[in-house]
């Protein structure tokens, strides 16, 4: 006997994500998720962002790692609204973890919520968390071929960031390859180059964040 079902396997996750999205919208919070490989500079970019934003925006942070609260400890000096989520082995954050994390933050005091996903360019892309925008973070020392190897984030991201451009003189990173591959996947892919450590290009990034927060 065959029982027809036709149901999304991630239905439960998607339902919680939709609930998160509603809660955040009602609280007036614009939410982004940062997705990038381990060590691409997600936490560093957030540290620089918090230092440079000043009092313009009130930012909350949820940071996901398999283990340790090191990223939350790095961010805590720059914002009173930081919570760590440990996934206990899972390669991605899911909507329920965000729902629990949101309870630790004063949502009505926030303009912007930034989620740092588990370091991984692949797995987090398929799990909706309730964010308004996904940011794909690449970095120079990872190599110029990373967009070609990760098409889904290229197609789905609201913004792609190329970090660590201060290292371009020292590694064999060919911008023609990087942009050429992007062009054959998504010609109008929005890309921003920056260095989270030297601060080069950070102003563009801050403007982008401010604009997003305004529109939301």
């Amino acid at each position: 006997m065959n029982i027809p079902v036709v149901e999304n396997v991630l239905k439960l996750n998607d339902e919680i994500a939709a609930e998160n999205r509603r809660t955040l919208k009602d609280a007036g919070v614009v939410t982004i998720t940062l997705i990038g490989s381990p060590g691409s500079g997600k936490t560093t970019l957030l540290e620089t962002t918090l230092k440079s934003l000043g009092n313009d925006l009130s930012v909350g942070l949820l940071t996901g790692d398999i283990a340790t609260s090191r990223d939350a400890e790095r961010l805590a000096p720059h914002s009173p609204h930081v919570a760590q989520i440990n996934t206990g082995g899972s390669c991605h954050l899911d909507a329920n973890q965000i729902k629990q994390g949101m309870k630790q933050l004063p949502l009505d005091k926030l303009d912007l919520l930034i989620i740092e996903n588990v370091g991984n360019l692949i797995c987090p892309v398929g799990f909706d968390l309730g964010q308004d925008a996904k940011i794909g973070l690449f970095s120079v020392p990872e190599g110029d071929d990373k967009p070609a190897k990760h098409p889904r984030i290229v197609l789905e991201a609201s913004l792609l960031v190329l970090n660590k451009i201060d290292l371009i003189p020292y590694v064999s990173f060919d911008r023609d390859v990087f942009y050429g591959d992007l062009k054959s996947m998504r010609e109008d892919a929005p890309v921003m180059e920056l260095s989270a450590t030297t601060g080069e290009g950070i102003d563009n990034w801050l403007d982008w964040l401010r604009r997003l927060a305004d529109e939301g």
Partner: protein
Amino acid sequence: MHETAIAASLLEQVRQYIAPEAVLQCVHLQIGRMEHLEETVFQAAWSAMTNDTPFADSTLTIEWVPILVRCRKCQGEYTPEDRAIMICPKCDSAYPEILQGSGIILKSLDIDIPGE
């Protein structure tokens, strides 16, 4: 691995449809080619997940759905030969809108009711 998380989600979902007296034989899934899922890893995750459950002997069959793209420039539809090369064969540009090829869908379940 996210295959485990997806298998866990599937198991919860399957439980809702299977009466205690029924024996689950086969789970039919439809998975888009855009999804980051590896068939052997997913099969292994399902076996591990169901090991201590009444569904331990069930099998998974996966129907892979090809990617279908609409070009936002010329409106032509095409199936890219590679996920990383989305260039439209008609106008040679890459402004893809994914029409089909994402999603993980539980289509149906084959069950047996002993004694019927």
